[in-house]
Amino acid sequence: MAEPVMEVVARPPESMEDVPLHYCPGCTHGIIHRLVAEVIDELGIREKTIGVASVGCSVLNYNYFKTDFQQAAHGRAPAVATGIKRVHPDKIVFTYQGDGDLASIGTAEIVHAAMRGEKITVIFVNNAVYGMTSGQMAPTTLVGQKTTTSPRGRSVEGQGYPIRMSEMLATLQTPAYIARVAVTDPGKVHRAKLAIRKAFRTQLEGKAFSLVEIISTCPVNWGMTPNEAIAWANQNMLAYYPLGEIKVPPEVS
Amino acid sequence: MVHDVIISGFGGQGVLSMGELLAYTAMHQGKNVTWLPAYGPEQRGGTSYCTVVISDEPVASPISSEPEAIIVLNRPSLERFESQVRAGGFIVYNSSLIDVSPTRKDVRVVAVPANAIADEIGATTVANMVMLGAFLEVLPVVSRDDVMKSLAQTISARHHNLLPLDEQALKRGAEVAQKVGKSS
């Protein structure tokens, strides 16, 4: 009998290291990492890309991407990326930040990097909770959502309504591209990739600041199975965080 | 030889620039110099002053506890610094704006109607140069000619038309000090 011919039908992107990820079962960081890596591959920019890791569950993501990386202090990734990009304006610089990092401790840095129009791309993963520290309330936590620091559910009285970072940043005149996507079903994953590609292309074309907010899940800290978490996100998060392109420069296609 | 002088007046009277001009001129004569301004809230509105030290040796302290001379352009400055002048030193004061006389008897006092003279010259802004001219007459740490050379180097070309007024101001200040010198 002849040897069976093995054909490669799927493989990790070139820009990703072939190592196991440390993320919890059902976590969507893995999908998002892959989307970013595929885009880097497709644009052929791996050797000129420098990533900035933030503090949160994705703190170790410099181990997963096959690009140069700097690990940043909590919330400061946009400032670190600013420093890198200004030194190497010909390189592609992206940050990868969670909602605690970007929407809480790092609000000043993200707002001002966006205002200055730093030519960087921000991957903003919003799962409405602090994951790494095991499930505390985030500024993006939905009203009524129970977390370890909002055990009775987030209340408007005292904790306010969650922050819509993309809409807020879109009030600034300088940013070029801001979109919100989700990775909670295959169609949305596909559209998320298109947005990520557009954001990187915005930077490649030398246009100002681009950001993609990605609605994600955290089954472990939400106390759900992965499927329940997907359903919960689709039903509740998307109701508060509508998907779509919020700011698009006419020239970027 | 070390000369230390405090120059003081209202913000806007040109005391900092006068000190800078003095320091700059002395540097060009090969001296070691420091120019130390009072900075911060003191530079807003109220009294502004600087300390200039001119020395053949490297300058140790740029702060002067007993200055050899003070050049004071307003009354608060006289009240603040009169007591600090070292015995045998100099007080050069703007008698146009200071309606009291220094009481120290152990220093040489020169009253200069700087604003009146500047108005005669036709430019109130050169009152500080009148004061400097008087000071250099009693303590010639640099010459008036050297000051004029420095001034030509440091001010922008569009102000060079004012140089003759500055020169006149220095000279008139010196004449006032000469008269005092003869009378004392």
Partner: protein, 356 residues
């Protein structure tokens, strides 16, 4: 010979940094050093460098972490409260081995304090400041010319050790003008190569700038290697200066602004026959213990007088070195008050009277 220029300390240090090859400056306005960002905003574009007015000192230090990690010679300047805000980032830079130069024009504190000269940040600069086990080389110029020269060394030392370097002064050194001679512009192509920098992983393995390591045994190895650098700094980078110390029975220990005042005071009391001299640390860390110990061991010194614009910080290092062999006295003015030459001379005279 290069031209002698009359320059403000803040502007001189900014120009000196550019001549040392600094091409990235980020900062936030704060008195008494705002002339530095103002100067940099004019000058950096002329040399193809980057000036950014950051949104805060917190952002500033992280911009330095990014730009320094990307391989540029980077610096910022601030004053005490702003330097406090940068401490987290300085710790990250030390941990991730990112070179950078920090200038602290110290002002009176604690809290918002005032804007007048102070040396109240000695502990912060030399004993940590930020979290974790690290050291900074801390340089303390006594004149504007020395500040210009130390800026050159600061960038070289930062690159040599891949560690932040701090230059400390105060409003007096920053606002004062003195004649300076500038060194020539450094040719950037002669600066040390930085194969570790994030420049894009083209044809090489990826570079990672990072201070995180969750395995304590691995992190301990990393910190051991940092310690080896700090040990080497201590062995090779101690610097000091002396004035009239050879026959001195009273040795004033002072740095920066106070050392200038002390020189005048020493000149004054020498005129009365008091054998006073000056020991001036130039590196506050590494502490110049070898040279100071030699002064102690000479046996001539009857008393040390530590003069600081603080309530007593450097005195701890003096005492450690002197180790009880000679009395160590203290004179401090603080919260923005600068001692005068006459005042300090009086302190030395009193001390002399006690010795008799």
């Amino acid at each position: 010979m290069a031209e002698r220029m009359l320059m403000k300390g803040n502007e001189a240090l900014a120009e000196a940094a550019i001549r040392a090859g600094c091409r990235f400056y980020a900062g936030y306005p704060i008195t008494p050093q705002s002339e530095v960002p103002e100067y940099m905003s004019r000058r950096m574009p002329e040399v193809g460098g980057v000036f950014i007015q950051a949104e805060s000192e917190v952002a500033t230090v992280n911009m330095l972490y990014g730009a320094g990690g990307a391989g540029a010679r980077v610096m910022t300047s601030s004053s005490s409260p702003g330097i406090s805000l940068m401490q987290e980032g300085i710790s990250y830079m030390a941990g991730a081995e990112v070179p950078g130069v920090f200038v602290n024009m110290m002002r009176g504190g604690p809290g918002l304090g005032d804007i007048s000269p102070s040396q109240g940040d000695y502990f912060q600069a030399t004993k940590g400041g930020g979290h974790g086990d690290y050291r900074l080389i801390v340089l303390a110029p006594g004149s504007i010319q020395e500040m210009v020269e130390l800026m050159q060394d600061a960038f070289d030392l930062a690159d040599k050790y891949r560690n932040p370097v701090m230059v400390v002064g105060d409003g007096m050194l920053g606002q004062m003008m003195e004649p300076v001679t500038m060194p020539p512009m450094r040719d950037l192509s002669t600066l040390p190569a930085k194969p570790w920098a994030t420049t894009g992983a083209a044809g090489r393995k990826k570079n990672i700038i990072n201070s995180l390591e969750l395995d304590p045994y691995v992190l301990e190895k990393h910190v051991q290697s940092l310690k080896a650098k700090f040990d080497q700094m201590q062995a090779t980078e101690q610097r000091h200066d002396t004035y009239l110390i050879d026959d001195a029975e009273i040795v004033v220990v002072a740095y920066g602004t106070v050392s200038r005042v002390a020189r005048s005071a020493i000149d004054a009391v020498r005129g009365e026959g008091i054998k006073a001299g000056l020991f001036r640390p130039i590196t506050l860390w590494p502490w110049p213990e070898v040279a100071l110990a030699r002064v102690v061991e000479s046996g001539r010194v009857k008393a040390f007088l530590v003069a600081e614009m603080s309530t007593g910080q450097m005195i701890e290092d003096v005492r450690l070195t002197v180790s009880g062999r000679v009395p160590v006295h203290f004179y401090g003015r603080y919260a923005g008050v600068v001692p005068t030459p006459k005042e300090l001379a009086g302190v030395i005279q009193n001390l002399q009277a006690q010795l008799k």
